[in-house]
């Protein structure tokens, strides 16, 4: 897989659930156009979606920056928002601070970070309470990822 150079910053509006998911859809489409392995594209799409939804659910505004080149995809999700008071707790399966509204829509399962960590080959989250949160992820090809290969995210 050799990805053509591409980078874009996708603005994400907090609370605009119906608009969210654009960065994830776009990166999946671009990876598909460039014949990236389906499993690779799926991992990138899932993790990007979760990061994008976190901005939408928790923050006032943010952006998801996608950078693609060669064999790697880098995704940075940065937001202006409440930040995370306890990262350890936030990374725990099932823990969520999502609003009631988000939960009735099926968000706030507390699985977002877990999905990102499982799908990304490098995952880092930094935060400042009252300022915002930044998630950085890198995706690299995994052995066995080819058309018809095994699913890496199971």
């Amino acid at each position: 897989m050799t990805l053509r150079s591409f980078s874009h910053s996708y603005p994400v509006l907090g609370g605009a659930y119906y608009l969210a998911g654009r960065a994830a859809s776009d990166v999946k489409r671009r990876l598909g156009e460039q014949k990236a392995p389906a499993e690779f594209a799926r991992r990138v799409a899932i993790a990007t979606y979760e990061a994008e939804m976190n901005i939408c659910i928790h923050a006032i505004s943010g952006e998801v920056v996608i950078v693609m080149e060669g064999e790697r995809v880098d995704v940075v999700a940065n937001d202006r928002g409440p930040g995370i008071a306890d990262i350890g707790l936030a990374l725990t399966l099932g823990y969520s601070t999502a609003s009631e509204k988000a939960r009735t829509m099926g968000f706030g399962a507390g699985l977002g970070f877990a999905n990102m960590q499982r799908c990304a080959d490098r995952f880092q989250v930094s935060t400042q309470v009252g300022i915002g949160t930044r998630v950085e992820m890198t995706f690299l090809p995994r052995p066995g990822e080819s058309p018809g290969g095994a699913e890496p995210c199971s």
């Binding site: 999946k28 799926r42 099926g106």
Partner: protein, 111 residues
């Protein structure tokens, strides 16, 4: 098993993506938590949920699901159906509960 056969046997109503009913169904996933579906549904699955908002279309598109089945007589929002039509995602509805639909699908051999 093709989606058309499942739609007929379970008496599902196609609300969008009718042109894709001949797709194969690989398996199934039941959840009303989107992140759970993101973690566990596989390409080609049908996803049974009672969520009706447009983000279910996003999930179906990202995971290459064969269809979303909205259960329990829930009515997909207009924005959901518009987005589904635009993106070629099959959404079917049923008055049956998610439990019943899952059971009947499992009986049909969808595992």
């Amino acid at each position: 098993m093709q989606l058309t056969e499942i739609a007929r046997t379970l008496d599902l109503t196609a609300r969008s993506g009718e042109q894709h009913l001949s797709r194969d169904v690989a398996g199934g996933c039941v959840s009303d938590l989107l992140s759970y579906a993101m973690a566990n549904a596989h390409a080609g699955d049908v996803w049974i949920t009672i969520q009706v908002h447009p983000n279910i279309v996003g999930v179906a598109e990202l995971l290459d699901l064969t269809a979303v089945i909205v259960a329990g007589g829930q009515e997909p929002e207009k924005a959901t159906l518009d987005k589904a039509k635009e993106q070629g995602i099959a959404i079917l509805t049923s008055r049956e509960t998610a439990f019943t639909l899952a059971g009947r699908l499992y009986e049909l051999g969808v595992r």
